[in-house]
């Protein structure tokens, strides 16, 4: 079954690229058939992603959440889940042009990782792992979507806003809706990020005897939490739109640095993640 992983990864990548291409063609030609094909490829990619997670889960006899590759797979899965929800509920197919590139880039990174199944170290054999990493996945998926919506906001604003003659701007939802949706998605992701931090700290207390070690991964997760806290608070002061969008983008950059940057540049006790 281990040999199935690579073909699944390739099929997954192809499905996401095709989904992106069909969304792009939909943007140009505005044909319902293209849009439906794009949706079909997105759902197919999501099913393949789920299938690969199931295969991985069977190989390790548990939830595949123990290393960078497995977390990355779940991350992509969560982004797609949030995207599918938003796309079907609000008919925001143009958002695919901003979300799917993130997914494809992440997959291109994951394809190069070692997929060999190795036994988990004793510290990772804990019930806290499941809730800690699943909430991280949910939060990061929501923040990726919010990032895409914020980029859309800034692009539309830069192109002239609601009355812009630009084709891309006219295809995008109203600025107010983009801003509101980005806020709502962060509002879902932020409690998940909080639970991720809490469960990680409780687990660390049981495992390492210290609930907080200022390890780079912990610290950057806290930095991410601070940035999104600032986002939620500045909205109370009426800072919406452009300023909020910029902060949302900064928040997602912190997410990416926590996920990848810390793992490669700032080694610590989270060396496996």
């Amino acid at each position: 079954m281990e040999n199935l992983q690579t073909p699944f990864m390739v099929a997954l990548l192809v499905a996401y690229v095709l989904a992106f291409l069909f969304y792009f063609i939909t943007f140009i030609y505005e044909k319902v058939a293209f849009k439906n094909t794009a949706k079909l490829f997105t759902v197919l990619a999501f099913v393949l992603n789920t299938g690969l997670l199931v295969i991985r889960g069977l190989l390790i006899s548990g939830l595949p959440l123990r290393n960078l590759f497995e977390f990355g797979l779940f991350f992509v899965w969560a982004i797609t889940l949030v995207f599918i929800f938003i796309e079907f509920k609000f008919d925001l197919s143009v958002s695919a042009l901003f979300v799917l590139p993130i997914v494809i880039l992440l997959l291109l990174f994951l394809v190069n990782l070692d997929v060999t199944v190795r036994p988990a170290m004793p510290a990772l054999r804990s019930k806290w792992l499941v809730i800690h990493v699943l909430t991280a996945v949910l939060a990061y998926g929501a923040f990726a979507m919010s990032f895409a919506l914020s980029v859309m906001y800034l692009v539309k604003d830069w192109l002239g806003g609601e009355n812009s003659p630009n084709r891309l701007a006219s295809k995008m939802p109203r600025l107010e809706l983009l801003d509101e949706l980005s806020y709502k998605v962060i509002f879902v992701g932020m409690p998940a990020l909080t639970i991720m931090l809490v469960t990680g700290a409780v687990w660390a207390e049981y495992s390492w005897g210290r609930y907080w070690s200022w390890d780079p991964k912990e610290t950057w997760a806290l930095v991410t939490w601070f940035v999104y806290s600032a986002y939620l608070h500045i909205r109370l002061r009426g800072w919406k739109g452009k300023k909020a969008a910029i902060l949302s983008i900064v928040g997602f950059l912190a997410v990416i640095f926590t996920f990848l940057g810390v793992s490669y540049l700032l080694p610590g006790i989270h060396s496996y993640a």
Binding site: P122, L177, T194, R210, W214, T219, V223, I234, L236, L266
Partner: protein, 373 residues
């Protein structure tokens, strides 16, 4: 001063400062940031800010929770037509079905309805603030805690450092490496007795992810190791306790002894190349040149336990529990309320919610239901 301490501007400034400090600390790990006086000052100010902000907003929240239905200001309200009691019934059923809690009152021919939903969400930010304060207080108390480690061979006793607990001694009964069905290491377990002032007060096991706690002291499985008790006859006779995998030369033969599940593995080398391995059980012998004989007597495992006494941990854990509850409360949906005054065939309606989109949506749904003319 109170206004400044409870302000969102201060909160955002402090958050920004902590972000910058944290980023700097991870990029330059040799510079002490988190233990620095000024960083602790930031945390203290943050704690005060959270407290003042919470205290300031509590009356408003209590007012909303205790709020009673009253006459709606018609100038700010949207007016809907309604034909009679059946329309009122319909509206109230609709609001109930949507999960609103209704309060009603009537006076001078006017009926007032107050429908509220998401009260738990209303208290979530304050609960989160309080939980953060608890965590910060707990963190401060943790700075008065002590942690150390104790190393002990199986079958022997060792003092717990007096800085952690005076008069406390551990006796290690057993140390085991546990393997899963696939042969991979599942855990390391130490079985021990605890003595306080020479009196046995507890016994139990500690393993990774499951520390043992006794009299406020936590015991964590930190590390372990093996020594091998061997006897030599011949050129260098005697009994030796040799560390696991340490390289020795004996009669021109280079070797080490390593622990394995099957027994002690003696590995012979020529230069860096492994030439031969022999598995020894207790009492087994290996012959060396010049009538030298190595007899394997027994494995001598030791365990290393982290020991900690921290008055802050229970406070921090309470904070974490409240933080988790607050997080779930955030997911219960935004607080919203609908205030309605019904009089002489018309309904005056005001929807309150911090999110404009929600306000518009609720107003639209109710208008649709009541068929606004």
């Amino acid at each position: 001063m109170i206004k400044f301490l409870s302000s969102i501007q201060l909160a955002i400034t402090l958050i920004g400062a902590m972000v910058l400090a944290s980023v700097f600390a991870t990029l330059f790990p040799d510079v002490e940031i988190f233990g620095a006086f000024w960083f602790r000052g930031l945390l203290l100010l943050f704690c005060l800010n959270l407290l003042m902000c919470t205290v300031k907003s509590l009356p408003g929240i209590l007012h909303r929770i205790k709020k009673l239905p009253s006459s709606v200001n018609e100038e700010r309200a949207k007016t809907l037509n309604f034909s009679g009691p059946e329309d009122v019934e319909k509206l109230m059923d609709y609001l109930k079905a949507k999960g609103y809690k209704l309060k009603t009152s009537s006076s001078e021919g006017q009926q007032n309805i107050l429908a509220q939903k998401g009260i738990l969400n209303l208290i979530a930010p304050q609960l989160l603030h309080l939980s953060l304060i608890l965590v910060l207080i707990g963190g401060f108390l943790t700075s008065f805690g002590v942690e150390d480690q104790v190393t002990c061979f199986v079958g022997e006793r060792a003092d717990v450092p007096a800085s952690v607990a005076s008069g406390m001694v551990i006796e290690v009964n057993d140390f085991q490496t546990i393997y899963d069905a696939d042969g991979a290491i599942d855990n390391w377990i130490t079985n021990l007795n605890i003595y306080v002032n020479d009196e046995k007060t507890a016994s139990g096991t500690t393993k990774v992810n499951a520390p043992l706690k006794h009299q406020g002291v936590s015991f964590y499985q930190k590390s372990y190791g093996y020594y091998h008790l061997i006897e030599l006859t011949g050129v260098q006779p005697g009994t030796y306790d040799v560390p696991d995998k340490k390289i020795f030369s004996l009669e021109n033969k280079t070797f080490n002894i390593g622990y394995s599940e099957e027994g002690a593995v003696v590995s012979f080398f020529e230069g860096h190349n492994l030439t031969e391995t022999v598995v020894l059980k207790d009492g087994d012998k290996i012959d060396f040149p010049n009538d030298t004989v190595l007899t394997y007597i027994e494995l001598n495992p030791f365990t290393v336990l982290g020991v900690k006494k921290d008055p802050g941990t229970p406070v921090v854990m309470t904070g974490f529990l409240l933080m988790t509850i607050a997080s779930f409360l955030f997911w219960t949906g935004r607080y919203r309320e609908v205030a309605i005054s019904l009089t002489e065939g018309k309904a005056s309606l005001i929807v309150y919610c911090k999110i404009k989109a929600v306000r518009d949506e609720v107003m639209e749904e109710i208008s649709e239901r009541m068929k606004v003319k």
